[in-house]
Amino acid sequence: MSERFAFVNARLLDPASGLDARGALVIEKGRIADFGAHLFGDGAPGDLPAFDCGGQCLMPGLVDMRVQLGEPGEEHKETIRSGGLAAARGGVTSMVALPNTEPVVDDVAGVEFVARRAREVKLAKVYTYGAVTRALEGKEITEIGLLSEFGALGFTDATRAVADAGVMRRALAYARAYDQLIVQHPEDPALADGDMNEGEIATRLGLHGIPVAAEVIMVERDLRLLELTDGRYHAAHVSTRAAVEAIRAAKARGLRVTCDTAPHYFTLNESAVGDYRTFAKVSPPLRGEDDRRAVAEAVADGTIDAIASDHSPHDQDSKRLPFAIAAPGIAGLETLLPLSLALVHDGLMPLLDLLARLTSAPAAILGLEAGRLQRGAPADLTLFDVERAWRIDPDAFVGKSKNSPFDDHPVQGAVLRTVVDGRTVFQTES
C-alpha cells in the first residue's frame, strides 16, 4: 500500500461516535488522515490509489483483550506469529496476551520480549498483561509499577484466580498508584475444582461439577475488596446470571468495575459437552441455558462491557484425553466477530452496540489508543461483510491449533480485510 490510500464506497462504522454512513476513509503514513460521508464530494478521490469497498462495512479493528499465544514456552500450540495470523484473519488488530507463558511474564524482561517479538512479526499489535503475583503463585505481588512502565496493560494471574483475599486487596490497592487494572479469573478455586457445569449432565457423565456459585462468590468478594481499595477491577469471561447481576448492581453503586465474556458463553450451553466432547471444555465451564441467555442479555445492555475471544490454543494431544484431564479452552481468534454478530442477527442488539463491545469498549478499559475511527489515530481497520453466511471449519484456521467446538457451526458475517497501521495483514482471496 502506498503512503496515501483511500477506502471508498464503504459503510463507515464507528461505535465510539455512533457513525454509520456511506463514505470514504483516507490513510496516510499508517494513520487515518480523514474519513467521512462526503470526503470527496460525491466524486472519485482523484489520482489517490483507492479500494472500492462495494458498500461493505469498514470499522476500527477489533481489540481482543484476552488471548493466549503460547510464546514463550508452548510454541507447538501457538506463537506470536501464528497467533498474529489468526488475529489478522479474525479482524483483530490489537490483542492482549495473558502472562501464563513459560516463563511467566512477571518481570520486565517478559514484557519486553513480547513487545519485541510483536514488532518483528508485524501482524496484529500484541500487548501483554503482567502477572499479579510472582510465578502466578498467588502470594507475592509483582513489580506492578515497573511492569506498567515497560508497557504491561494490566495485571492478571491469567487462568488462575487470585484466591487469597489479602493478596487481592493489596494488589487492587497497590495498582491504584499506577492507575493499573486488575483482571481476575473469577472462580473460587476450591469450588471450581471440577470438569464441567454442575447439574444433570455432569451427574450423568460422572464428571465433577462446578457450581454457578464458584463464580459469583469470587466476583462478590472482589467487589467488596474493590469498595475497600477504590482500585480498578475487571472480571474476565463472565459466564453466569448471578455474576452478571452482581456486577450490574456494583456498577449502579458507582464502583470501577468492568467485565468481559467470550462468544462461547453466549453461543453454547453445557449440552455442547454432549458425550465427553473435550473441545467444549472451557474454564469457567459452559453453563445452563438460563445463564447463557443472561450473558447474551448482559452483552446487549452493556453490563458486560467487552467481548474477548479468550483464545486458548491447544494441540490434539491436549484434547484427545479423558474429559477430566483434557486441557480447557477454545481457539477463538478467527471466530470472534462472526459468532458475536449472531447477537445482532438474532435481534438482541444494534450493530454499533455490538461493535463497541469488540472495539472502543475494550480499548477504553485498557487505555489503548485504538478501537475508534479518529483523524490522526493509527489506521487499524477491519473491512467485513455483515451478511455473508458460512460455516465455521476449524481445519481451515490459520492459527496453529484447531480446537474449536464450532465445527460446521453456521454463522453470518465475514472479515474481508484487516489493516494494521495502514498495512493490509489479511485479505480474502476474492
Binding site: G199, E200, L207, G209, P211, L321, P322, F323
Partner: protein
Amino acid sequence: MTAPAPESLPARFPHRHLLGIEGLSADQITYLLDRSERYVEVNRGGNKKSSLLRGLTVINLFFESSTRTRTSFELAGKRLGADVINMSVAWSSIKKGETLIDTAMTLNAMHPDVLIVRHPDSGAVKLLSEKVNCAVINAGDGSHEHPTQALLDALTIRRRRGRLEGLTVAICGDILHSRVARSNIYLLGTMGARVRVVAPPTLLPAAIERLGVEAFSDMTAALEGCDIVMMLRLQTERMHGTFVPSIREYFRFFGLDREKLQAAKPDTLIMHPGPMNRGVEIDSEVADDIDRSLIREQVEMGVAVRMACLDTLTLALRGEAEAEAPRRAAP
C-alpha cells in the same frame, strides 16, 4: 479383523460395544439377561467349557486395579474358549495420558476381537472405543458406568423375585462417585423398578432426581417398604473429613445393620458389589445372613452375565447375527 457393518449386527442387540446401560432399551436389557440365564445353567453343570469363542482374542485392559471384575471377565472368556490376555497399565492422571490412545492403538494393531476396559476417568472407555476396530466392553469408567455390574445385579434380583418391574430398590452409599449406582439407576428405571438413592448430602450428585430417582439422606425413611437394599462401597480416603467426618459416624447413620433394616420389607434382599468394608457400610451380621444376603450370588451371576456379553458382542463376528434375528411371520 475389521468391524462388523451395522447391518450385520444382531437385530435384538444392535450395538458394537457395551459402554453403558444408558441408552439401552428394556428389550435389549431383557435380551442380555435371558442370554445370561443360559450361562448360569451351563456354569452349574458338569461341562462348563465351550468352544464358542475359539480362535478369538479377548484382552482385559485394566488401568485401575481390580481383582474381582478382572477375574470374572477372564473366567467368562476362558469358559467360552477365547484366548484371554490380562494387561494392567499403571495410570496416573498427573502424568499426561497420551498412554490411553497409544495403548489403544498398540493393542488394536494386535487385532483383538474384544477389549474389556476399566479406567479411572469417566468417558475414557468411550474415547478408547473410538480408536479401535474391535468390540469394547466397559468394565467401569470413573464415576460414569459399570454396565456388567448392573446387569448382574438385575439378573440376581430377577432370579429371586421373578421380575424387576414394580420393585422398590434403595441404593445406599457413595452415589456421587459410583459408576455402579449410575448403571443401576438407568437399568432399574428402564425396567420399571422404583429407585431410591440414600447418602449423606455430600455424596449425592447434583440434580440426581433428574435421573428418575428419589433422593434421601435418612436411611430409615429410604428403606421403608423396600424390596431390595443395594449397598455401595465407600472408599476409605473419603471417610476422614473430606466427604464424611468419620467411619463411626458414617456407620451410625448410613451403615446397614439389623435396626435400620427393620424399616424395609420383612423379606427384603441385600446386595453389595464388593469388596465390602465390613463395619463401615454394612454390618457383618447382615452381610452374612444367608436368608437375606445375595452377595455371593451376585459374584456367580457376574460370570454368567459376562459370558452373555462376550457371546452377544461377537455374534456378528462369528456369523451368527442372522440366527438371532426375530423370526418373521410367514407371508
